[in-house]
Symmetry: C2
Subunit: 481 residues, 2 copies
């Protein structure tokens, strides 16, 4: 376990002579690493990070904030990172044993200077997730280069960890003792784990009634306090807003802009994996839309700072039963969003009123991406196809492959393109979905109409077989065809 | 995605002049990377890898084989790796984008030359798992340095992946189209994922009757064919032995010695993390005992090759209801093992007749470690304590902390020692256990006798609370105090 050493590199200033924070983070003492401010995504108002209201809504217009770094826009400013030096530094850190360097988020800390001191950063060694080459799906789709960036390989099993490490570090640095969210799924699991690691207490609010205990197991495991309220999900969120305005509890729902700062870092990992020549097309599941927003911000910043030559096309795929952004873009070009009542078995994207829809619409539109939806059967088949390549994922992740199939069928994706699917959750996050699919109890007849044979070919239900070698071998012959 | 380039380094021979494989693996063509043979752990008979029977039992005495590398024992032989060069090479590979270098198993491929060509190696980017500093547990136990090496952070959520990448690569190189195991748990999940990745078909045999579907979800997801047999687990294993003797199906139960070769690599990761000064004490859960055997082999080889100065003490902890090795060591110094009927909720170590007990006994005895057992309540409390530090794990992993507490109470672990707990599975592997514990339905009164208060302090059941800020805040005050 080595300590960090002070890193100097060509193209940036020397430690002794400098007035502003080093890009290398907390490697020199006595100065702030913090370079950020908050800008309202609605009215453009700018405030200091510490001035945000506890509910993270703009006091002027009520919209969400986005983190920005004013120093980056000065072409020759001290705060503007040097692209070549950063690429070298980030690569070298992969060989480092220092804790922050081992995090796939904080390894890129020069591009998330949100803390006064990076020494406050708290990590469970998130990020550094695998990028898998999908050879069979690529062949089936007639695409040269298809990859899956598996964010479900994060410590708590979902992409939320990359954002939570950032936001919990801010909470800890600002002296909070409690953090909270309204969530029954991946957010509460991630929050509870990072809070526990940071020595903070965590509160989870959930609607009373039909509790999916499986979804809560991680929050319990990591020691969160869970309150069931006689309220629906929006009611829980409203109550939590009241609570954080009354008590020193740090809000970690996705309105928190620091979560998106962490969630942008997979863009850096992807760009680095392709040696800073970004892939043509990135396909992301669309639920609350924080992830597509964050990845868009990540690639935008890489482009603005000169680390990459362009942004990839960013497409967002929703479930047909939870497609408010698809509708918004089709009906009014993304200028307004009408909430829908959400229905899909892909619970991680079962969201009818997404918080980050404006940011996601911007990422899609500026990158030339698409937004479309896929059916329950398409999701289930895509998940089984990913599984058959050895990649488990939660159902929401599989919308990416289902969406790619549709885009390819429409001629929107060229055979020569390099495409990256962003998988967001681990298969163990929803074992019941997998079991129900393979046992044939997941989808109803209406949903499978027209694709019965394809689904049957993908199902792998357990068979009762006589306990003889001949009977077992006959089963295999049968299966092979 | 870069290709590997030929690496030369001081201290080893040049490519052109050499007759034997380079330590750097498949970096030069036309020569075999394969340096291994198999040695029977019982009678010492030696055979070539390709000569092993399909059931991997010694034809002379029926015992298990162990992989060995005869070239390593020649002090100045061509095949004996150079310690300094290896440390440098392994570290450099952490910065490489080449697939095998990104694997925490194949990064160390010079120490597992089991393939004719490392180009056959197949990876899901296993290994490179986090090593967490456990500050609160260390303080509670009065130990300076306590760490957890979390093997549950592997792709399918268990330590089995490090072994499966090795054994499936062998299966693929030897031309098998099918692989198989008898397992309802982590082994089948891992096998199915790697087989899918390799383009092989996989077969899982399980006893008919009370199927725990949750345990099978991953095997189904990755496309395995599952057969339920009217037989118990040992019956399934016997039948599978018959099947592999009749048909070209590669056996992947833990009798396969190549699995242990992959599973030894976390020893290299741990040694590297401590800058090649090994920790004092490694504590490992004991079920089928392949993991403790493999880690022992890993540290032994590091020591024999001069990469580290000594082996760590290796202790193995079993559940009290599944403790055949504890009994064997107490009753006959590990010379014979009497199978027991296994009972524990920690399903991953619910094994009464462990395959690798001789190898594990050797690792414990040669390293000066201990073997002891812990109760169901001790396991549950230790799991909750690890959770409260932000580390989820499956119940079997928690025996390590429970065991350390006992060892510390006995004075067997000094306050100045550096201790590493090996966590073997992800918390999502057994969400039901977590839920049952926190809802108070896991343990019965007999099991909790005397520790009711400690357990109550660790439980985090969801509470029904009025939907007002005051009611929620009152709950938090209640919890804190």
């Amino acid at each position: 376990m080595k300590q960090a050493t002070c890193v100097h590199f060509a193209g940036t200033h020397q430690c002794a002579a400098r007035q502003k924070p080093l890009p290398a983070g907390n490697l020199c003492t006595g100065m702030s690493d913090n370079l950020h401010q908050l800008r309202c995504f609605g009215c453009g108002a700018r405030i200091k990070g510490a001035e945000a209201r506890p509910d993270f809504r703009c006091a002027l217009c009520g919209d969400l904030f986005e983190v920005e770094y004013p120093g980056w826009s000065e072409r020759r400013g001290h705060d503007r990172p040097n692209p070549g030096a950063l690429k070298w530094l980030w690569r070298e850190r992969r060989c480092s044993s220092e804790a922050l360097d081992s995090s796939g988020v904080w390894r890129f800390r020069e591009l998330l200077p949100i803390l006064d001191n990076f020494g406050s950063a708290l990590t469970l060694f998130e990020g550094n997730t695998p990028l898998y080459h999908l050879t069979r799906a690529a062949k089936a789709l007639g695409i040269d280069q298809l990859f899956a960036k598996h964010q479900g390989m994060n410590p708590t099993g979902s992409f939320k960890d990359t954002g939570m490490t950032a936001a919990i570090s801010v909470a800890k640095e600002r002296g909070f003792g409690w953090v909270a969210c309204a969530s029954t799924g991946n957010t509460s699991a991630s929050m509870a784990a990072y809070a526990a690691r940071a020595g903070l207490r965590s509160l989870v609010l959930i609607p009373d009634g039909k509790i999916a205990w499986g979804k809560l197991s991680q929050a319990m495991d990591y020691g969160a306090v869970t309150c069931q309220l006689k309220a629906d999900f929006d009611g829980c969120l409203r109550l939590l807003t009241q609570i954080v305005n009354e008590a020193p509890i740090y809000l970690l729902n996705s309105v928190n802009p620091y979560r998106l700062e962490g969630q942008k870092t997979p863009a850096f990992e992807i760009a680095e994996a392709f040696d800073w020549i970004v892939p043509d097309h990135l396909i992301v599941p669309g639920g609350n839309l924080g992830n597509s927003s964050a990845l868009g911000k990540g690639f935008r910043e890489l482009h603005e700072l000169g680390l990459v030559a362009r942004m990839p096309r960013i497409s967002v795929i929703q479930a047909a039963g939870a497609n408010p952004l698809v509708r918004s873009l089709a009906e009014n070009d993304g200028t307004a969003l009408e909430p829908v009542e959400a229905h899909t078995r892909a619970t991680a994207i079962r969201i009818g009123n997404p918080a980050s829809w404006r940011k996601a619409a911007r990422a899609i539109q500026e990158s030339g991406g698409w937004c479309l939806d896929v059916t329950e059967a398409e999701i289930a088949m895509a998940k089984a196809e990913l599984g058959a390549e050895g990649l488990g994922c939660e159902p929401a992740s599989a919308v990416t492959l289902a969406g790619l199939k549709k885009l390819r069928a429409r001629g929107a994706v060229d055979s020569g393109e390099t495409v990256v699917l962003v998988l967001t959750g681990h298969t163990l996050k929803d074992a019941d979905y997998t079991i129900d699919f393979h046992r044939g109890t997941l989808l109803n007849a209406e949903e499978t109409a027209g694709v019965e044979a394809e689904i049957e070919a993908l199902r792998r239900n357990a068979r009762v077989v006589d306990a003889t070698p001949a009977a077992v071998l006959a089963t295999l012959k049968d299966r092979v065809g």
